[in-house]
């Protein structure tokens, strides 16, 4: 059997897996990005206690390997009476990691907003919350969109970790198919190609980086 034929056999099973991967990426971002904004505003807050709590959470989230967080959520939480099915557990775990990592990106964005912007908001009598919501965040989010897209791609690849708690995403389907047919190379390269095609398409559509154009962001 040629490689293409094998791929053809795998594809009907792999495509739903890719769909799970995409869903997992999106749902992790939905959990992680608000968490990232929250942690970022926490680490830049004026109150020292708030800053330390936020910073500790960020360092814990970034310090712990994604797989450990995943296992803790999936196998650890049931011990305290909270059982999550595998997709939800993967969402929570990847969401936590996403929150920790993106908070640092967002924090850099917050710090990149010139000090004068905050001063102007304050001088107009805006409350600290409105200063953040109406003046600082809209500018910071614009700055951080390219690095956040970059992170989203890393996360998309990282969802393959959910394989470890048998979420039926792309990698676990590839692995299953491979262990049944013993065609490891064919199955895993197809999965790899599918990961790559989708992320490259996304990058191209978003126009983040065109290697043919010099000086593009």
């Amino acid at each position: 059997m040629s490689l293409l034929q094998e791929w053809q056999n795998f594809l009907p099973d792999f495509l739903p897996g890719l769909w799970v991967t995409v869903k997992l990426t999106v749902s992790s971002l939905c959990v992680g990005l608000p968490l990232g904004v929250l942690l970022a505003t926490g680490t830049t807050a004026r109150g020292r206690a708030v800053r330390w709590v936020a910073l500790t959470l960020v360092e814990l989230g970034r310090g712990a390997p994604g797989l450990i967080v995943l296992y803790l959520v999936y196998y650890g939480l049931p011990q305290v009476g909270l059982t999550l099915e595998n997709f939800l557990a993967a969402t929570v775990a990847l969401g936590i990691s996403t929150g920790a990592y993106t908070s640092e990106i967002i924090r850099a964005g917050l710090n990149a907003v010139p000090r004068g912007q905050r001063e102007a908001a304050r001088a107009l009598g805006l409350s600290p919350f409105k200063e953040l919501r109406l003046v600082v965040l809209p500018q910071a989010l614009r700055i951080v969109i390219p690095p956040l897209v970059g992170f989203a791609i890393v996360l998309y690849q990282g969802t393959s970790l959910a394989f470890a708690i048998s979420t039926p995403e792309l990698l676990s389907r590839a692995y299953n198919a491979a262990s049944i047919s013993f065609q490891y190379t064919a199955a895993l390269t197809l999965a790899g190609v599918m990961y790559a095609v989708l992320s490259l398409t996304a990058v191209a559509l978003l126009g983040i980086r065109n290697p043919l154009k010099r000086g593009s962001p």
């Binding site: 102007a120 908001a121 001088a123 107009l124 805006l126």
Partner: protein, 258 residues
């Protein structure tokens, strides 16, 4: 003392420090309603710090700020003057500020810049705020730039939008922190023209500036600061013509010899 005798702004023994380094020493200053005061002096004299302490962008280490006879915040804690958030916001609504670097919000159009705080700080309706924003842009001669992003405007236009933004809050007092220092002479002139008109309309203004012609022509009073203290003050023309203090003479001579 009748209300007529109460100065619009009274600063009493204001001290400002940065990291233990005192940059304003016990400065007291009264400004009457409708008065235009120019704050001049060499760099590092504490002019901007004093100006910024009026609306608490710099929290004074000690001293009191009274607006229309009412003290802004009271008492001290942790060695700094403490003001409640609501009292501070209310005070800042009464005091307009124009910055050297304009500080317009780049993600908003000109009219949105002028309307934002009217809605979110004064609580005006969006329609009311927008209508007022158009009026103020008209006031500074930029009605036709209302929908334009600040980045597409010249420096002089940006500063006039910033002035409109401050005026739309109906301030009792306007602070200008070197409003023309970031502009070339020509663009500076259009901003000075707007400020001159504002002064004629009776706005109370405190202007930190290096524009000596403007200070002499438009200000009622010039306050000369050096080393964190007021060295000399007096009616604008008199002080320019006949400075008394040796430090003032030296500064004005340096300005003229340029």
């Amino acid at each position: 003392m009748t209300t007529l005798d109460v100065p619009l702004l009274r600063l009493q023994d204001i001290c400002v420090s940065y990291k233990g380094n005192r940059v304003v020493h016990d400065v007291s200053l009264d400004v009457a309603g409708g008065e235009v005061v120019a704050l001049i002096g060499p760099s590092g004299a504490g002019k901007s710090s004093l100006l910024r302490s009026i609306n608490f962008l710099e929290t004074p280490e000690s001293g009191t700020v009274l607006l229309s006879g009412n003290e802004v915040g009271a008492g001290q804690r942790r060695g700094r003057t403490q003001v409640s958030k609501t009292a501070l916001a209310a005070h800042r609504r009464d005091v307009g500020m124009v910055f050297q670097s304009f500080n317009l919000f780049p993600h908003l159009s000109a009219v949105e810049n002028v309307a934002l705080a009217q809605v979110h700080s004064l609580g005006r309706s969006r329609e009311e705020a927008k209508k007022r924003a158009y009026q103020e842009l008209e006031h500074v001669g930029l009605r036709d730039h209302a929908e334009v992003s600040p980045a597409k405007c010249s420096g002089g236009q940006q500063q006039r939008i910033a002035i409109a933004r401050a005026l739309a809050m109906d301030p009792k007092l306007m602070l200008f922190d070197e409003p023309t220092s970031a502009l070339d002479p020509e663009l500076g002139l259009e901003v000075l023209g707007t400020m001159r008109r504002l002064a004629h309309e009776g706005m109370t203004m405190i202007v930190v500036t290096h524009e000596m012609h403007f200070a002499q022509d438009v200000a009622d009073r010039i306050v000369f600061m050096a080393d964190g203290r007021i060295v000399e003050q007096g009616p604008a023309k008199e002080l320019m013509r006949n400075p008394q203090h040796e430090r003032t003479i030296r500064f004005l001579k340096a300005v003229r010899d340029r």
